[in-house]
Symmetry: C2
Subunit: 201 residues, 2 copies
């Protein structure tokens, strides 16, 4: 039942079976139907979530009601609103299932207790957050430096398993492009024979 999340933990750290048991004992299962929200703005967020199956998007609605997708999350990703979770402020984000999804949740208090009792989980989350930080910084750099085609190729590398599952308009939104521009980019890549590796892990 916990095999996927344990495999993910063991990809980064080597906890004792005692530490793993303490970890899984505080996980709560959660299921979402497609289009259901996990988080919406204005709420206090007391959990982080591990995606067991399915796909979610985290997005922000601006004052004009325009949607801006800031993250996709599929199997083996942690998702949540870190700012709201750690700083105990209301969320500014929506997190929505775009496929039926199964998640594990862990509460702030359980996580703090786990860090205290089993510092190996401090290590696990430090490594994950560092990877997240690097990925966010790459996104800032990529917005500054690259043209749309390069940004799309970067996206395919960052999210190799998502590209074939997610509607085009979501990907265009994440990249800050119109769906028409994204289609043109894909067409050019196909003509250049560069689409072979796209979407492959």
């Amino acid at each position: 039942m916990y095999s996927k999340i344990i495999t993910h933990v063991e990809k980064y750290v080597t906890p004792t079976s005692h530490a793993l048991k303490a970890f899984t004992s505080v996980l709560q299962p959660l299921e979402l139907k497609k289009k259901e929200n996990l988080i919406h703005p204005g709420t206090y967020i007391q959990h982080e979530f591990f995606v067991e199956s399915g796909c979610l998007i985290a997005y922000y609605l601006d004052k004009k009601g325009h949607k801006h997708i800031i993250q996709f999350a599929i199997e083996d990703w942690w998702v949540g609103d870190f700012d709201a979770f750690y700083n105990k402020i209301p969320s500014k984000l929506y997190i929505e299932a775009i496929e039926d999804a199964k998640l594990w949740s862990i509460s702030f208090n359980d996580l703090e207790q786990l860090y205290h009792d089993h510092p190996i989980f401090e290590r696990y989350f430090r490594i994950l957050v560092t990877r997240g930080f690097i990925s966010q910084r790459k996104r800032v750099l990529s917005t500054l430096q690259e043209n749309a085609k390069e940004r799309y190729l970067d996206f395919c590398k960052t999210y190799p398993n998502i590209e074939s599952r997610v509607p085009n308009y979501h990907i265009a939104n994440y990249l800050g492009l119109s769906p028409e521009s994204l289609s043109r980019i894909r067409k050019t890549l196909t003509e250049e024979g560069l689409n072979i590796d796209v979407g492959q892990p």
Copy 2:
């Protein structure tokens, strides 16, 4: 000699004096003159750096030679190229002192050993990286959602002590504005009487 960095550590965690001693014993001092580079592209980065005094910028030069500032760092900030440091790939960044600066450096191997021997430092860096992640995500959100005036006010909040020390053209660059646009924004804020708090911690 270590008082500033120890104060910073103790702001987030409560290490034993034994753990603190292990930490300070692996710190190396480093001085940079204004305009000197700490890091430049194409090099392998084996250290992270704590700013004891002075100011640095981290920037990327695009293919056309245009500079894009992605971070400022003053006293009490850690700075480095996390992607290059953790993933053992050549740096893509410049990090340059824009004031004479005193730094502490810690090597990758010393840091790993420290994490192993004193998990409290795993906690310290997990907390710092989480704050960094949140700040990067805010920057992505801010680029998506806000107008230039709001982005400038956000900048003043994020970097309350930098604004009065850094040339305007650096701030304009970080915000993706022309220096002229930034001047106009500042003028408007002065006229609105909103400049009183700007630049204050």
